[in-house]
């Protein structure tokens, strides 16, 4: 789960990272009030969970409260990479002499968090990794030992930070790590961390991603989820305990198991090409009860791009015939006009096929293989079935 910039920075601040004393606003009037209170020039920053806000015109400098209000009128409501801006952060504008990067991610191969620093702040770290990998200094953190001061000093030394800033840098590194740890984060980054004109370190922008698996022990963080910032179908899916990601294609997929779900998506593109392709990732998990199947079908149908539905289930411990009956029952509950291709493999696949074929419903087709199922779904999406 990703946090907004303002949420991330507030949380960093709580753990001792110096942050600008800005506030978040949802209306131009609020922006005016905040800017007037802050006095002096401010930055109005759109709060959307996507990179490249600056280039998209979502971050603007205002000389005073009036200008801030005007800018907020254009920024609030604008679309950035498909997401509507509903909130802006109003921060005092800072003069700075240097931008650096400081972040923590999980190093999967090492099984440890790794803290990274770079003297090239203000650009995406992936960009630095491509263009100037030596500019990134890394320190693996032992999960039992935690970040040690000397590791922060190694980073400061590695990025040639002037020695007078070391003490502040070490403190910020420790605060960031404490925040990362306490939040069960999988990513926590300050970019840029600036050296201001008056020689202070300040976290101008921040980003955090929380481990979804750990939200059960972070009720406060779970509440921070901005469901406005995601497709409504994803919110509904989460409520139904269904793993769902909206995509741009035309074939709605319903699958059990994440790997098989991705594979099914891949097959729709293999046979349908760019213009057809998968409309979503959807894993209904184990069991496949009729209720869950119905919820999944509703979520798939909520996407107006969907032209056909592909159901691919491997009956393992659960039996294929039960799954087939669940699909028929769910279809009755939901009411579907789109063509639907069903493929059931594994336990009692033969019985499942008979149930589907005996139902003889219009627009409901049974496929033997995944290849055949994908090809049928593509034909159906093209209106050729």
């Amino acid at each position: 789960m990703n946090l907004h910039e303002y949420q991330s920075k507030q949380r960093f601040g709580k753990f001792g990272v110096p942050i600008p004393q800005g506030k978040v606003a949802a209306s131009p009037q609020e922006v005016y009030e905040i800017a007037r209170e802050l006095g002096g020039p401010v930055v109005v920053k759109s709060q959307v969970l996507v990179g490249g806000r600056g280039k998209a015109g979502g971050i603007k400098l205002a000389q005073d409260a009036d200008e801030a209000q005007q800018l907020a009128e254009t920024i609030l409501g604008m679309q950035i990479k498909g997401l509507t801006v509903r909130k802006v952060l109003v921060d005092p504008a800072s003069k700075f002499v240097k931008e650096i990067y400081l972040g923590i991610v999980n190093d999967r191969a090492a099984g440890k968090p790794v803290m990274m620093a770079s003297s090239e702040g203000g650009v995406e770290i992936e960009e630095v990794a491509r263009t100037n990998p030596k500019a990134i200094i890394r320190e693996q953190i032992d999960p039992f030992l935690g970040l040690r001061d000397y590791q922060a000093r190694n980073l400061a030394s590695g990025i040639n930070l002037p020695r007078e800033h070391w003490r502040a840098f070490v403190k910020i590194a420790q605060s960031l790590y404490a925040c990362y740890l306490d939040s069960d984060a999988v990513l926590a980054e300050i970019n840029p961390l600036v050296i201001t004109a008056d020689g202070q370190l300040l976290a101008l922008d921040g980003k955090m991603s929380i481990d979804d698996n750990a939200l059960f022990r972070h009720a406060d963080l779970a509440e921070m989820r901005d469901t406005d910032a995601e497709p409504e179908a994803e919110t509904q899916a989460r409520a139904a305990d269904i793993s769902y990601v909206k995509l741009d294609g035309q074939i709605g997929c319903m699958v059990n198991g994440a790997g098989l779900a991705m594979t099914t998506m891949d097959m729709t593109k293999l046979f349908g090409g760019e213009e057809i392709g998968p409309a979503n990732f959807l894993d209904i998990g184990g069991g496949a009860q009729a209720d869950k199947v119905a919820a999944a079908l509703r979520i798939i149908l909520s996407d107006p791009n969907v032209k056909s539905i592909l159901v691919n289930i491997f009956g393992g411990i659960t039996r294929g015939d039960e799954v087939a009956r669940g699909i028929l029952q769910a279809r009755e509950q939901v009411g579907i006009n789109l063509p639907m291709i069903v493929r059931l493999n594994g336990t009692n696949a033969k019985e499942a096929r008979e149930i589907i074929q005996n139902a003889a419903l219009p627009n409901l087709h049974y496929a033997e293989t995944l290849t055949q199922a994908a090809q049928l779904a593509v034909s159906a999406a093209k209106g050729e079935l």
């Binding site: 999960p143 039992f144 698996n213 059960f216 990601v245 991705m262």
Partner: protein, 285 residues
């Protein structure tokens, strides 16, 4: 011969009195796995499926001489169950639990180093040596004894492939699900090495997916160490960057972990990559 578990495996089930633990314990027993007992704190002395329940892993191992354990425990308590199994020096630990916080797993992973245990999972379907032992949740009937080693990050996708192999008359030596979490105890390279050294395995199938670089490491290993032919499939070519595809580990981050780079690396290592998993039996032919 087989890898990880076979006829000589003596298995205990952590969480045997729970819904999932009890259900799958029965399935494993039905398959012929030598389940020697189970563990549920506070329920020592009870019996489940005619197997004794113990309060602690230590007492279960002391009493049954178990050499493998399988964990069906809620994510909140899974780390503790793992530490308990490691402390009891159980040689093989299979963790089925999905949803363990990554911070917990990083500590477990660190604790595991230098221990006497091998961990498979978490968030994995376990493993199956056809006709000998099933330590996990794979449906037993889809597999049949033979000489193809299968290793995969996935569950149902693996079943598809294994079932397809069986239907084509290509039996398996051992089928291993390593799990879809970002931090897992056993990786592709570990299992490939076991298959390379296993006389019962002649060919290998590797099923990967987006996220991380385990498949890149596997390609490196195959290139430099493997003599047995490998065929494979990588799921998630159509997954968008930055989005988690069900598995906690299935995410393309910062342009890394794409299906394309993995396929390229594996192809360069001589692996025959299927565009469609149904092609896999043909690629082994």
């Amino acid at each position: 011969m087989a890898i990880l578990a076979d006829k000589n495996t003596r298995l205990i089930v952590q969480g045997i009195t729970g819904r999932e633990g009890s259900f799958h314990a029965e399935k494993m027993i039905e398959y012929g796995t030598n389940v020697v007992g189970g563990v549920t704190p506070g329920k020592g002395g009870e019996w489940v499926h005619s197997k004794p329940v113990f309060d602690t892993v230590k007492s279960a191992v002391d009493a049954t001489d178990a050499n493998a354990t399988i964990i069906y425990v809620n994510p909140q308590f899974a780390a503790d169950a793992l530490y308990e199994a490691i402390d009891a020096e159980v040689p093989l630990i299979v963790c089925i639990t999905e949803g363990i916080p990554v911070a917990d797993m990083m500590k477990v992973y660190s604790y595991l180093k230098g221990s006497k245990s091998r961990l498979l999972g978490p968030n994995c379907p376990g493993m199956l040596t056809p006709g000998q032992a099933k330590v996990g949740i794979m449906p037993g009937y889809i597999a049949t004894p033979g000489s193809v080693g299968v290793v995969s990050k996935s569950g149902t996708l693996t079943y598809e492939v294994v079932y397809a192999l069986t239907n084509k008359g290509m039996g398996q030596s051992t089928c291993v699900g390593i799990g879809g979490d970002p931090i897992i105890g056993t990786n592709f390279v570990d299992v490939l090495e076991m298959f390379e050294n296993d006389p019962a395995t002649e060919k290998v199938v590797l099923i990967g997916e987006i996220g991380g670089r385990a498949e890149i490491d596997a390609a490196e290993y195959i290139k430099t160490h493997m003599t047995k032919p490998v065929a494979g499939f990588i799921a998630g070519a159509t997954a968008p960057p930055g989005k988690r595809m069900g598995h906690a580990g299935a995410i393309v981050e910062g342009g890394e972990g794409t299906a394309e780079e993995k396929i390229n690396a594996l192809r360069a290592a001589g692996v025959r990559i299927a565009a469609n998993p149904e092609e896999i039996p043909g690629l082994l032919g």
